[in-house]
Symmetry: C2
Subunit: 214 residues, 2 copies
DNA sequence: CCAGCGATGTTACTAGCGGTAACGCGAGTG
DNA sequence: CACTCGCGTTACCGCTAGTAACATCGCTGG
């Protein structure tokens, strides 16, 4: 019947959608997370209502846009995480992959982490965490899965793995954010320091009791 | 001359300022981080221009407001961090203090973490990290200081301490954010799991090679 | 051949935001 | 009495997200 028709329409619609997303990408890359719908529409050579017809509202566009980058980054991370190597090497490689990504395109990274938390002010309850980057959540969950699959953690392993997944991702994120702003050392050094932290050097370090002047 | 007069004026101005901040506090507690200047002015029983005369712009008000809470939270954390106890106990106590704080007042916590990154769109360069919570930065720096003062980390200790400070704070933050949203376990369990992570259980865990079905 | 319909696109608008200019007003001072 | 000065207001600007209403093209059916 009209299935061929509909698929045709859908195909062109999808192409438009992809074009719009690419335009939005360019604008975000240029203007950062506060890119306006007007600017995106202008970049795409059209006007606002079309954007709204395609994506519903700003949150929809941002979600679609974020999904692409998030998926791409997660693919890279999975590759590093699943490599056939020693655990420490895998961890360092994963950290380095993430840091290299945020170093290469900080604007995109900023957008992913702070996707214009607007949404709708209706639900102002205890929804802490809805915003603040679905990317972090997804990375945390994926890492948790890998940890649980690969490591033998004894009883309560699932819960422990999830805590660790989110915790490690947060560590990586915060350290990366700070490092990107101050650049106090090379990427390799940062990776090494973080891996050292995860490897328990904090607990193993000796107390400093006889410090000079103290 | 007019010194006494000016101090008098300054005193009343400071009182007004405090009143306004308390009103803003109430609104933020009710509406979350997207509290509008109009709403805050209305809560204080005045109108917008007065707010602007006192705080310059929205960023100024938010900064003043954030400073109060940040200082308060940092004081609690310092107390837990500097307690005369075993290192593990201190770490757990600090984690618990932080988590208890965000659990008690999630709206305030959200405000501190995402202080309406607007500012002015002028400087759209590579300023990643300017936003995204000065609170996290301050906590990271303070923790770094404590780590460096208390622990003997050998050469490169300062840099290592800073990486760890920011990394641990990020771990705590992300895990807390996730936990607050899903409540998958008790606070005490979360604290224990995070401390275990910092104590190197990740590195010490055995590989899971003979899993059932795999 | 032409009526109609649906998708694509436009202009023009609303509501609300941050921020500001211009004015009103009461208190103290020469 | 006039004059200034700080507190407070109303009324506005420019911007944003989001929408309603209108125009237009291409395609299908009688």
């Amino acid at each position: 019947m009209d299935t061929t028709q509909r698929t045709d329409q859908q195909r062109t619609a999808d192409r438009r959608r992809r074009e719009l997303l690419e335009a939005a990408d360019r604008v975000v890359l240029r203007d950062g997370p506060q890119a306006s719908m007007n600017a995106i529409a202008a970049e795409a050579g059209i006007t606002k209502p079309i954007l709204y017809r395609h994506f519903g509202d700003k949150g929809g566009l941002y979600a679609a846009l974020a999904k692409r980058h998030t998926d791409a980054l997660l693919d890279s991370l999975r590759a590093a995480l699943d490599a056939p190597a020693e655990r420490r090497e895998r961890v360092e490689s994963t950290l380095d992959t993430y840091l290299a990504a945020i170093e290469a395109r900080p604007q995109v990274y900023r957008f992913l982490m702070h996707p214009a938390e607007g949404s709708s002010g209706s639900d102002q309850g205890f929804d802490v965490g809805k915003h603040s980057a679905p990317l972090l959540r997804r990375m945390g969950e994926e890492l948790a899965q890998v940890i649980e699959d690969r490591l033998d953690l004894g009883p309560g392993s699932q819960q422990l793995a999830r805590v660790w997944g989110h915790g490690i991702v947060g560590m990586m994120h915060a350290a990366g954010d700070w490092w990107l702003g101050e650049r106090p050392c090379s990427r390799a050094e940062l990776v090494r320091s973080l891996a050292d932290l995860l490897w328990g050097r904090l607990a193993a370090a000796g107390d400093r009791v006889g410090g000079p002047g103290f």
